[in-house]
């Protein structure tokens, strides 16, 4: 699956590591259960990320937030929207500032919602979708509700218009 960041395909340096496999030297993604069981590997400089199932309580990640380079959240089907809530909590409550990656059934027509919830990297399911990402992200000049993405809301615009 191509990895897209800021509208462009980029190389993915992270290797997915199974529960019992040895950690590689380079950047690695480990399952949440392994992170919780083993804690952060000691004496390792390469970036570490975690693969989080969408039923997990992301509060479990709180002790590791500052040490994680990537958190990968899962959309097993695009209609299963649990990871949207996980993403907002990680960004807005737990202050995660690393790469928040959407994996699974990641499609063009959901990418704006994902960005608004805090995702900034996408393992895209259909390569044909990629050229449309920029268009999808620009489809709405205004949004109604505030989220952690800081996008200007219609409420902000109204306040500015009244103040003017």
């Amino acid at each position: 699956m191509p990895l897209v960041k800021q509208g462009a395909v980029v190389p993915d340096p992270f290797a997915r590591v199974a529960d019992d496999a040895a950690l590689p030297e380079g950047p690695a993604l480990v399952p949440l259960a392994r992170l919780l069981a083993d804690g952060l590997p000691e004496g390792r400089n390469a970036p570490l990320g975690v693969l989080v199932p969408n039923a997990a309580d992301v509060a479990l990640l709180a002790p590791f937030i500052g040490q994680l380079a990537v958190i990968v959240l899962d959309f097993p089907k695009f209609r299963d929207g649990r990871a949207y809530s996980q993403a907002r909590l990680l960004r807005e409550r737990f202050g995660f500032s690393g790469e928040l990656r959407a994996a699974g059934n990641v499609l063009r027509d959901q990418v704006l919602l994902m960005v608004r919830c805090g995702f900034d990297a996408f393992e895209v399911a259909k390569a044909d979708d990629i050229p449309g990402f920029t268009h999808a992200l620009a489809a709405y000049s205004l949004v109604y509700q505030p989220t952690g993405d800081g996008r200007r809301t219609i409420g902000d615009a109204r306040r500015a218009a009244r103040g003017a």
Binding site: F78, R79, D80, G81, R82, Y84, S85, Q86, R88, R93, L107, D109, Q110, L112, L113, M114, R116, C117, D128, H135, A139, Y140, S141, L142, V143, Y144, Q145, P146, T147, I154, G155, A157, R158, R159, R162
Partner: protein, 550 residues
């Protein structure tokens, strides 16, 4: 009513363009039907038995006369000349072509209308009292809060792929006309110590597993409305079941974890966000309240001579007693337009009727129209002196059947005539019942009576809360109907009780008539309503007689 500002209009234009692009990609094959389905559903487009259906959102049931004309235009230009008003204060068109959908939506958007979130597993149209802003019973106009919820929930990025659809209803009157206890969230506006706030009710719903909602908070300050809703939705989005479509509504989550635990989770989540960006300050309320245009009611006296003279006409007097309700402003009245003429499908209106209704609203009703969840229309503000003339006009249009709240004011789902899910037909049964109970004097004598018909277990006709509930079931390719008695959707909401075995399609009307005759025989007097008799005596006496002749 709320008038869109430049920002609402810009958003809507973006939405129309977005959907036009999605339809183009579907037609080109870039999107599979599976991928397209939730996108079209989010815009109110269903694939039904025979054609695409377009459901238009009527926010909390309020329409301007120009918007009604736009609906008439769509019915005429893109459909077969009629539309169907729904139990959620929306309207659906049943014969729209996919390639014409974007144009129909653009025409609607020009009048500030759209199909956003009338379907799909997202937050749907927030519904309210069709008498909002007009009834003397309410403590405040609930539409302000419904509009605030509309804006917050529109394309909410976190809550667009919920486990299942999500419906919110709100009332500010003592008598609940919005059925808040059978919604995913029900909000009851009330006052405590001079402050306005909400009782928050969660987990009500009908469908195959009906529940009356549970109160999880007696009093929520209005400044906290959105943060509290966001907390409930987050708890549901994270923890609601997704393994079984029939167990995915919030009512099942509330039932399985228990009201207390569910409430605890919501309160814990809310504590984290209540002081955040969703807190509503006075400026936030004012920005939206200022967009509501409310009529300047002329200073008039009650019961003007034009009205009292006309009451000498028994036909007018009958309609007046049935379809006209008390308004908060002296000299004014609330008028219900019955969309339940004898022998016709409940809730349908033709394009010509829509145009005529719009003109009447301009002449007599300050240009404002409401859709009631009972599938009737309402003119919320009419001068009493105009009532006789309005009645003559409505009568000529077939919109003055004096059956509001009576036995032939039937709520029915579209049923097997349109719906891909239905097991049985609903509309023909409603038509036959209305023909059987066509005599205005007889139905007035029977008094208050709600019949609700659902063509399958999904309960779109709300049969569980009908005084007489009728549920279609299929047995060996035959249509049968189960009958329940004693349901209510109001502030004392309760679910109906099963009468007995399902009856065949050709017997239902007879059985209903025997139930009615039983009531008439058993009531203490004309003041004792059907529902009161069912509550006093239970279903047993009805059961004995309903099946007797069979």
């Amino acid at each position: 009513m709320y008038v869109h500002d430049e920002f609402d209009r810009a958003f809507l234009a973006d939405r129309v363009a977005d959907f036009r692009d999605q339809v183009a990609r579907r037609l080109s094959g870039a999107l599979t039907e599976e991928e397209f389905k939730p996108l079209r559903l989010m815009n109110g487009v269903y694939l039904q038995l025979h054609a695409y259906m377009l459901r238009i959102c009527i926010p909390y049931g309020t329409l301007s006369s120009d918007q009604m004309r736009a609906l008439g235009h769509v019915a005429r230009r893109y459909d077969r000349g009629y539309g169907h008003f729904t139990t959620r204060q929306n309207i659906q068109f049943n014969w729209i072509r996919l390639d014409e959908l974007p144009d129909a939506m653009a025409d609607l958007a020009a009048a500030g209308l759209h199909g956003i979130q009338t379907s799909g597993n997202c937050i749907r149209n927030t519904t309210t009292d069709q008498w909002a802003g007009a009834t003397p019973e309410e403590i405040e106009d609930p539409r302000l809060y419904a509009e605030i919820i509309r804006q917050w929930s529109t394309l909410h990025p976190e809550f667009t792929f919920l486990p299942r659809k999500f419906k919110i209803a709100i009332t500010a009157a003592k008598h609940d006309r919005a059925a808040i206890r059978v919604h995913d969230i029900g909000l009851r506006l009330h006052r405590r110590d001079g402050e306005t706030g909400f009782e928050v009710i969660v987990g009500g719903g009908l469908g195959r597993t009906p529940f009356i909602g549970k109160t999880i908070r007696d009093f929520l300050p209005k400044a906290d409305l959105l943060s509290y809703l966001e907390a409930i939705l987050r708890v549901y989005n994270s923890g609601g079941r997704r393994d079984n479509i029939y167990k995915a509504r919030i009512k099942i989550q509330v039932h399985e974890v228990g009201t207390e635990e569910f409430s605890r989770r919501v309160e814990a989540e809310w504590a984290e966000i209540r002081d955040g960006a969703l807190r509503l300050d006075d400026a936030a309320f004012a920005a939206i309240a200022d967009r509501f245009q409310t009529p300047d009611f002329a200073p008039l006296a009650d019961r003007p001579a034009d009205l009292t003279d006309a009451l000498a006409d028994p036909a007018f007097a009958r309609w007046h007693a049935n379809a006209v309700a008390v308004h908060k402003a002296p000299g004014h009245a609330i008028v219900t337009l019955s969309l339940k003429p004898v022998g016709k499908p409940p809730g349908d209106a033709t394009a010509d009727q829509m145009d005529a209704i719009a003109d009447l609203a301009d002449r007599f009703a300050y240009g404002e129209i409401r859709v009631a969840h009972e599938q009737n229309l309402t003119f919320p503000h009419v001068r009493q002196k105009d009532l006789p003339e309005l009645w003559r006009e409505l009568d000529a249009l077939g919109l003055a059947t004096p059956n509001v709240g009576l036995i032939s004011d039937i709520i029915a789902c579209p049923g097997l005539d349109y719906c891909a899910l239905a097991n049985t037909r609903s509309i023909p049964l409603a038509q036959r019942l209305s023909e059987r109970f066509a005599d205005p004097a007889r139905i007035a004598d029977i008094g208050r009576m709600h019949i609700n018909i659902s063509g399958c277990i999904n309960a779109c006709g709300h049969h569980h809360v009908g005084h007489i509930g009728i549920l279609g079931v299929e047995k060996k390719d035959q249509e049968f109907y189960q009958i329940t008695l004693g349901g209510k959707a109001n502030h004392k909401a309760r679910l109906g009780e099963l009468l007995g075995p399902a009856v065949g399609e050709d017997e239902v009307v007879e059985v209903v008539e025997r139930i009615v005759d039983t009531y008439l025989a058993l009531r203490a007097g004309p003041a004792e309503s059907f529902i009161a008799v069912v509550q006093r005596l239970g279903v047993e006496p009805f059961k004995e007689r309903a099946y007797a002749a069979g």
